[in-house]
Symmetry: C2
Subunit: 136 residues, 2 copies
DNA sequence: TACAATTATCTAGTATACTAACAATTTTGG
DNA sequence: CCAAAATTGTTAGTATACTAGATAATTGTA
């Protein structure tokens, strides 16, 4: 019979736990949680996204997103603005605070990512990425 | 600058989300959550473990473990028993219900694991396991 | 136009996971 | 021997993540 240490559920959950914890530690000085960091990252790539579009790109449940966006608004990273044509839509805009920390944030993310992936060469990193996407 | 799609935090979290969801679906008929399944799995390998030892083996926080063990007790999978020598210790014993479902459970876990890993050969599975353990 | 179907977002409730603080017990060191 | 330290486990509070369902706005159709 298979041992729990070799069940992908376990292996993956623990790897995720570790990596999440590492990013958590490095994002704490910004006052950001890892998920908030990812949302910020997506908005740095394209400001003013609709809430639902952020959810699609980051594969986030709408229920999860609501709470995170609310906390990021309170923390002064983003501001919500209703769309003038379709008032169901909520645009998420970066604040001046967020824009001023853009370079520092992106540099930090890249550094942490490199640290976590330090033991792998470029080809191995791509292989890992491909394998993780093939899990389903 | 790095894109969020290539940040290991994102890739790993989404792979974990998918695999967690798959196991969740297949364990639902048992009335088990994925984490409860892992704890049960560990107890099938060694019954009567101390709560703290389960936490060490599964790398679980004691706070997380307390709640899960309480729910598993309520659901009739386990029973707690204080150690007679050291009353701080709590032994976790499997119930008759748990023992009677052992084979069915383990067979299901192995099948789901194989399904999730279906696109990989044995060497690739070992490689993925090694890479995930090297993330730190 | 009226009304049903669709879409976008949010709320409520449950389950991990963490930090911090606490209670109970046992061990240790003077 | 006994006070301080260490260990085990629990509780409280916060942040994802899911399901289910509610709400509000828009679109499609008869």
């Amino acid at each position: 019979m298979i041992h729990y240490e070799h069940v992908i559920l376990f292996i993956l959950a623990k790897a995720n736990q570790r990596v999440h914890g590492i990013f958590k530690g490095h994002l704490q000085p910004f006052g950001l949680t890892p998920l908030q960091g990812l949302i910020l990252h997506a908005l740095y790539e394209e400001d003013g996204l609709i809430a639902g579009e952020i959810g699609r790109r980051l594969q986030l449940d709408s229920a999860t997103l609501s709470g995170v966006l609310e906390r990021m608004t309170e923390a002064g990273w983003i501001a919500k603005q209703a769309d003038s044509d379709d008032r169901r839509l909520v645009h998420i805009n970066l604040t001046v605070k967020a824009l001023s920390l853009r370079d520092e944030f992106l540099k930090k993310i890249e550094a942490v990512n490199n640290a976590v992936m330090a033991s792998f060469r470029i080809e191995e990193r791509l292989l890992l990425e491909r394998m993780l996407k093939d899990l389903k």
